[in-house]
């Protein structure tokens, strides 16, 4: 700001204009070529019938209007059903992963932040380490852990429980619970068709047993990153908490819920937003566990977009699904921010949020992969 007041000729700094452009030129060119233009290209493809032959632009591809969007959203058929199933699967994934990973991360952060804890460094390292491994390596490990006669079932065996064949089990967990309660066949009032050509009975299936293994994987790999975020938040408010607790004479549980948690609200927003954005993008794990297997119960919109394009060569449909997914993420993020909006909007909180930006950016990369999920960092 102060720079604006300086004389135009700026003897000391000279003319920096050309350098400004020169320094940002590589970034602008690359982001433009591989981000902005591709999105425009994909918008065109999502309204076309391009089948992968010849160039997408200037070839034989024809404009087909909103047909690709209609196929997955309104027209009865397999494409819409697959999309509906994928939305259902991902919805349950988000509903389970986001609260659990947030709660686990917060719990771990509060624990390892205690001054009386010995070997704090060791614990932080142990909880954070899974976050640095690649999705491929960790999925390979989980395929082994959750194998039919794997480690998890071995442990369950000790407890005299017969574990399922995790990654091959398509049963929805809510359906399983219902069958325990004696509901074995589809009740007539749920047999009807719900949104996107998926019956209500299928909508309420819950995550499949296979999906629960992927939910466990997500919690395992992201709780460490979010723990660091919460730890940053806790350290920023550390002094205030102690003082407030002293004045209050509050017990530990009350202290957490009435002092710590409200003060951590900005961090909580960031973690929830980043979690929401990342969980709607789950792709790698789905690819590695068989592309939606078993019985499409781990299919997600992100993978469906890929398989529609690269496997079925319905590029228009794949691009359309990508943009619908983009829309879902944007709408849900805005909705969540509105839901959790900071009513006080105090200056202090804003300052704290600015401080969190860098850590947020760091977490974005380690959780979501790629630059994209950094959305939460821009706040």
């Amino acid at each position: 700001m102060t720079s604006l007041a300086r004389p135009r000729s700026r003897g000391l700094r000279g003319n920096e204009g050309p350098f400004g452009w020169l320094f940002t030129l590589p970034a602008i060119l690359i982001l433009g070529t591989f981000l902005v233009i591709p999105i425009l290209l994909a918008v065109w493809v999502s309204f076309s019938n391009w089948n992968g032959l010849g160039p997408p632009v200037g070839g034989q591809a024809e404009f087909v209007g909103a047909a690709n969007y209609a196929e997955v959203l309104t027209q009865p058929g397999l494409a819409r059903r697959d999309f509906g199933i994928a939305i259902r699967n991902n919805l349950y994934y988000v509903l389970f992963v986001v609260p659990i990973q947030t709660a686990v991360a917060l719990f771990l952060a509060v624990q390892v932040n205690q001054k009386v804890l010995k070997a704090r460094g060791f614990f932080r390292t142990a909880f954070y380490f899974p976050s640095v491994t690649s999705s491929v390596a960790i999925t390979v490990v989980f395929l082994y852990l959750f194998g039919a006669s794997g480690v998890v079932n071995g442990v369950l065996n000790w407890l005299r429980v017969r574990g399922p064949n995790w990654f091959a089990d398509p049963r929805g967990v809510f359906h399983i619970v219902l069958s325990w309660l004696g509901v074995d066949s589809v009740p007539s009032f749920l047999a009807g068709e719900g949104p996107l050509g998926v019956t209500w009975w299928e909508w309420i299936a819950g995550p499949s047993v296979a999906m629960t293994a992927l939910i466990a994987l997500a919690v395992f790999t992201t709780s460490g990153t979010f723990m660091l975020l919460f730890l940053a938040g806790l350290q920023a408010i550390g002094q205030d908490i102690e003082e407030a607790a002293l004045v209050d004479g509050a017990g530990p549980v009350r202290k957490f819920f009435s002092i710590t948690l409200p003060m951590l609200k900005p961090t909580l927003f960031t973690v929830l937003t980043l979690g929401l954005i990342a969980t709607w993008q789950v792709f790698d794990q789905i690819y590695l566990t068989g592309g939606g297997a078993p019985a499409k119960t781990t299919l997600t919109p992100a993978f469906l977009a890929y398989s529609a394009s690269f496997e079925s060569l319905k590029w228009g449909r794949g691009a359309a699904i990508s943009f619908i997914l983009f829309g879902i993420i944007v709408v849900l993020t805005i909705f969540q921010r509105w839901l959790l909006r900071d009513r006080e909007g105090s200056r202090r909180n804003r300052r704290r949020r600015a401080r969190m930006a860098q850590v947020g950016a760091m977490a974005a990369i380690t959780t979501g992969g790629g630059h994209g999920t950094g959305g939460g960092a821009g706040e």
Binding site: G14, E16, P18, F19, G20, L22, F23, T24, A27, I30, L31, L35, P56, V110, K115, L117, F123, T125, A126, F127, Y128, F129, P130, S134, S135, I138, V140, V141, L143, G147, S149, V151, L228, L229, L231, L246, A250, G251, P252, W280, Q281, F283, Y306, W315, G318, S322, L325, F326, V359, M362, A364, I365, T366, G368, G370, G372, G374, G375, A377, G378
Partner: protein
């Protein structure tokens, strides 16, 4: 319930330091409880990695039948040997290393340049470009998979190192982090350099950049880890088996022929090997990573 102790500690500032050591039994039990519980949790977090290393040294049959045994009955390096004979692991590693080196250097250098221009140089269009970069950050990466393939295909660089590297060589988050850091460096430092006659690039390169070491390390770690672990982009930017990176290559071990049957040791061995570089990076910069949380308030 486990947060008993800090409160107690805060409540008792008047107690002389020496007497502090003798804790009431209730507090002591609480503290031991915390340690036991966290130790159990830490075991859960570490166990998958221990099991992976152990089972990668077993025979196929033993890995399937005795997943919980931590010391293999018949210790064998067969899985590791097969990775170098039956599978082009060296080629994958080379590709991964090449991509990682290029992407990391590119992100750190280009990100710093842009971050510097956006924070410290005065030029028209700066606010506009920065807004653009923020907007770009908001695009979820998975939405970009198909668009990225389309542009690579249209430009004719699908199935090439160029197509694998260049699209991810600039990263908006990196620019954002560097810009934030440069803003915290006092302007007087630059001005001193300018008085000495250094040009804009000289000032950036030999005066400001060395001061940005903490941010550079952060960006280096993130870029290295991000590109070494990258999977989705290499799925859509190539199909030539010669261009497999470790991530896409190891994926074929799971879904391809070697994924059939119970060939767990070779898959686990590959997972263990591909984790080593990021694990080393993590342990070298452990203090830096862990204190990013603490250092956040210092900027």
């Amino acid at each position: 319930m486990t947060t008993v102790s800090p409160v107690r500690e805060a409540e008792a500032p008047a107690v002389p330091a020496r007497q502090k050591r003798r804790l009431p039994p209730k507090v002591l039990i609480g503290r031991i409880g915390i340690h036991v519980m966290l130790l159990a949790l830490a075991v859960i977090y570490i166990f998958p990695f221990v099991v992976s290393v152990a089972s990668s040294l077993k025979t196929n049959a033993e890995a399937t039948q005795q997943p919980l045994r931590l010391i293999p009955e018949t210790l064998t390096f067969a899985a590791y040997e097969r990775l170098f004979t039956d599978v082009p692991l060296m080629k994958w590693t080379f590709n991964s290393a090449l991509v990682t080196i290029c992407v990391t250097l590119g992100r750190v250098f280009l990100g710093s340049l842009a971050g510097y221009a956006l924070s410290r140089l005065q030029w028209r269009g700066r606010a506009f470009i920065f807004a653009g970069i923020i907007a770009v950050m908001a695009v979820p990466s998975v939405v970009l998979l198909i668009p990225r393939f389309l542009i690579l295909y249209q430009l004719g660089i699908y199935d090439s190192y160029i197509g694998m590297i260049v699209p991810i060589i600039v990263d908006a988050t990196t620019i954002f982090i560097m810009k934030n850091f440069f803003e915290s460096i006092p302007e007087s430092v630059e001005e001193a350099a300018r008085i000495d006659g250094a040009g804009v690039f000289r000032t950036f390169w030999s005066v400001v950049l060395p001061m940005a070491r903490p941010a550079l390390i952060t960006v280096f770690i993130l870029s290295f880890q991000g590109s070494w672990n990258e999977f989705a982009h290499f799925i859509v930017s190539r199909q030539d088996p010669d261009l497999h990176t470790l991530t896409t290559g190891v994926a074929t071990l799971v879904s391809g022929q070697l994924g059939s049957g119970n060939q767990y040791p070779i898959q686990l061995a590959a997972a263990v090997l591909m984790t080593i570089p990021v694990a080393i990076l993590f342990f070298i910069f452990q203090r830096h990573i862990m204190s990013t949380a603490e250092g956040a308030e210092k900027g």
